[in-house]
């Protein structure tokens, strides 16, 4: 406790010898709410703060995926198949005028591969908030504005930040949409496993005895079954003619089926620890109902732990979805997710000839790391007195 006060003071106030200021600081800490203490503690964790920024950035893309995309991610063009990433030229005759060069595709007579040559005569100038393909912002506001675009011509013919796939669709734009799918599927999955975990873990910790023993055995069994084969079995059970939305929902259930066990353990442990606390006994003696004790007194005191556990569970969900879709058992085209994009890079030929198709691996790694760091920071902050 004393140590925590020391470190908190150090972080929030410049070191002062003035006794009054010290008392004010001590007052400030003893007056601060639990959440304030946690925030102060969390703020000190640099890596976690950086991770929080990355996560926020990721979910900004989720909200505005079509806005960040510049080319229609659903439109294929055989003329632009497997185009490598193209550079943006920022200067023209010493002046800042970002532009891209138009491309002409030819087939190499010897290897039969399509090769593309930039045409220095065909310049397309870039602009912000350009008009492009039509889409609905948040699903209901029709618009055609995009973050970047070209003034003369179509963005689909000019900008290729990450190249194109086999069907000639722009990889960057598809990646934006994939981010939307992959990051929300993790959230929904984690919400489901949170619900199951809190329910079963709560029951287990609260009632104890036989119920506890049964639930604990169940958790042990679920945990000792190899997850990926089980997922594969469940995912293969989905009929291929199902609509995307239903497959999406089913996938979240499948990945939540495993995730809940960790959550249940956290909740149970907390319940067991809190059951003996003085304030719970006090509430009982004061005649509070069991529901009131749980939701008014116990849950708020371990809510922060649950938030941390949830954040740490997200990367596993993202990896699960990516792996399943990569195998072709999860989401399928026309749905787009990181795993669906990576599926095109699943063999050595693809990897060797078209390495840019591996780019979707980067957001997976970055987001998984960010969630891990954020979760670590939250877990430390969840216990501000520790």
């Amino acid at each position: 406790m004393a140590e925590a006060v020391e470190t908190l003071k150090g972080s929030t106030l410049p070191p002062q010898r003035d006794a009054e200021a010290e008392r004010a600081a001590a007052d400030r800490i003893s007056m601060a709410t639990q959440w304030q203490l946690m925030w102060w503690r969390f703020r000190k964790h640099r890596l976690a703060m950086a991770a929080a920024v990355v996560v926020l950035f990721g979910y900004t893309i989720v909200l505005f995926a079509d806005f960040f995309a510049y080319a229609n991610p659903r439109q294929s063009d055989a003329q632009l198949s497997l185009l490598p990433p193209q550079p943006i030229y920022f200067f023209e005759d010493g002046q800042f005028r970002p532009h891209v060069l138009g491309l002409t595709g030819k087939r190499d007579p010897r290897t039969f591969r399509r090769v593309y040559e930039p045409d220095p005569e065909k310049k397309m100038y870039l602009t912000l908030f350009a008009q492009g393909y039509e889409y609905k912002l948040f699903g209901f506001i029709p618009t055609n504005r995009h973050l970047i675009g070209v003034t003369n011509g179509r963005a689909e013919d000019g900008i290729f930040l990450m190249g194109t796939d086999l069907q000639g669709r722009d990889l960057f734009s598809r990646l934006m949409l994939a981010t939307q799918t992959s990051l929300t599927i993790g959230l929904v999955g984690v919400a489901l496993s949170l619900f199951l975990g809190v329910l079963l873990g709560g029951i287990s910790g609260l009632y104890g005895g036989v119920v506890d023993a049964i639930i604990q055995r169940l958790i042990e069994i679920v945990r000792s079954i190899p997850t990926i084969p089980l997922w594969m079995g469940l995912a293969a059970a989905m009929p291929s003619e199902w609509p995307i939305t239903r497959i999406y929902f089913f996938i979240t259930i499948i990945i939540a089926l495993i995730g809940w066990t960790t959550m249940a353990r956290v909740v149970r442990g907390r319940f067991l620890a809190l059951r003996e606390e003085d304030f719970v006994t006090a509430a009982e003696l004061a005649g509070a109902s069991q529901m009131r004790i749980i939701f008014r007194h116990m849950v708020p005191s371990f809510l922060s732990h649950i938030i941390a556990a949830t954040t740490l569970a997200l990367p596993a969900m993202i990896i699960a979805e990516t792996s399943l879709s990569f195998l072709g058992l999860g989401l399928r085209a026309p749905a787009v997710s990181w795993g669906v994009l990576l599926q095109q890079a699943s063999n050595i030929q693809a990897v060797a000839i078209t390495p840019w198709l591996l780019i979707p691996a980067i957001p997976v790694i970055v987001m998984v790391l960010a969630f891990n760091f954020l979760g670590d920071g939250l877990r430390d902050a969840a216990d501000p007195y520790g």
């Binding site: 945990r223 084969p229 990576l342 998984v368 790391l369």
Partner: protein
């Protein structure tokens, strides 16, 4: 001690039974059965199958009966050492699986050996030289291991080896000319030389986790007063560290191996598909797609048995290194 072993053994048996039910039910979940998939396949190539033929096929495989009877029949067969027919191959399941199960065990075991052999020294080094450059480097590698799903690691290694070392074929467990030959010492050696890559791909995430736990445990131990006492007595530094704190820190290390094993086995499935290893992974994948009931259920079950055995062994190791468990004392689980 005996009661502890019996307790773990019973738990293992229960898990296997539960796994067999789950495996069977999961395969039965999709609408239709193997015959539907089979007929659809035949129709795609232009062959028509009459209703009578379909019904005859269903009776032949027992697919016309309720699920629980099919399950009990399958269990009955298994107890007699027969795992049923692999419908797609029209051969007994065991024959189809053949060497693949052994190879799965070998690959998983190689990954565990990799984890153990490296995480112990790295964990000790990182704890003793906390915040040194080496510690930071290993922490960084650890984060990579945690953040990169192993199939992606396989892809990246494939790309790097092609791009920078110009290795055309990577993966597999045997050289092309060895794959079809009968077992011999040369073939075993060939297998051993092919093992490191899948072991690293499979084991990196687990290694990162074990190093993290080992480091944290050892750091906790090193701060305890008895270590100061040992130093004050003038004990050599390596003895101070290796004699007591490492042994005390080993305990959670062994239990981690228990739950890392299921991860490795399930990871091996997807990695096998990417690296084209002749393990049960690709077979399971095809069987699931074709709804090949007995083959898929048997593989799922055998994988579950494998993890249960792994967990059981880790329990035994735990008992061996921790006297509190061996003598059933307070504070043990």
């Amino acid at each position: 001690m005996v009661s502890y072993i019996i307790q773990r053994f019973v738990a293992g048996i229960l898990t296997i039974i539960a796994a067999s039910i789950i495996a069977f039910v999961v395969i039965q979940l999709p609408p239709g059965d193997y015959v539907t998939a089979y007929i659809a396949n035949l129709q795609a190539t232009g062959t028509m199958v009459s209703m009578e033929e379909a019904a005859a096929l269903r009776i032949q495989y027992g697919l016309d009966q309720p699920v629980y009877i099919q399950y009990l029949k399958w269990v009955g067969l298994m107890l007699r050492g027969n795992f049923g027919m692999a419908m797609e191959y029209n051969r007994p399941v065991l024959e189809v699986i053949g060497d693949r199960m052994t190879l799965t065990v070998i690959v998983s075991f190689a990954a565990v050996v990799f984890i153990w052999a490296l995480s112990l020294p790295i964990g000790i080094y990182s704890a003793v030289r906390q915040y040194s450059i080496g510690d930071y480097i290993f922490t960084f590698i650890g984060f990579i291991g945690i953040a990169v799903p192993n199939f992606m690691l396989a892809l990246i290694i494939m790309y790097v080896s092609y791009r920078f070392f110009n290795v055309q074929s990577i993966g597999g467990l045997f050289s092309p000319d060895m794959a079809l030959q009968p077992w011999s010492w040369a073939k075993v050696w060939d297998l051993i030389t092919h093992l490191p890559l899948p072991a690293i791909v499979l084991g990196l995430a687990g290694m990162a986790e074990v190093v993290r736990i080992m480091r944290a445990n050892l750091l906790d131990e090193l701060r305890k007063p008895y270590v100061v006492t040992a130093r004050a007595k003038g004990l050599a530094e390596h003895r101070v560290i290796l004699k007591y704190p490492v042994r005390a820190a080993l305990n959670p290390f062994a239990s981690t191996i228990g739950y890392i094993f299921p991860f490795i086995v399930s990871g091996s499935i997807i990695v096998s598909l990417v690296l084209s290893l002749p393990t049960v992974g690709p077979l399971l994948f095809k069987a699931l797609i074709a709804q090949d009931l007995f083959l898929a259920a048997t593989i799922l079950l055998l994988l579950a048995v494998l993890t249960v055995i792994g967990t059981f062994i880790s329990d035994l190791i735990l008992m061996w290194i921790d006297p509190r468990i061996r003598f059933g004392m307070e504070g043990s689980k």
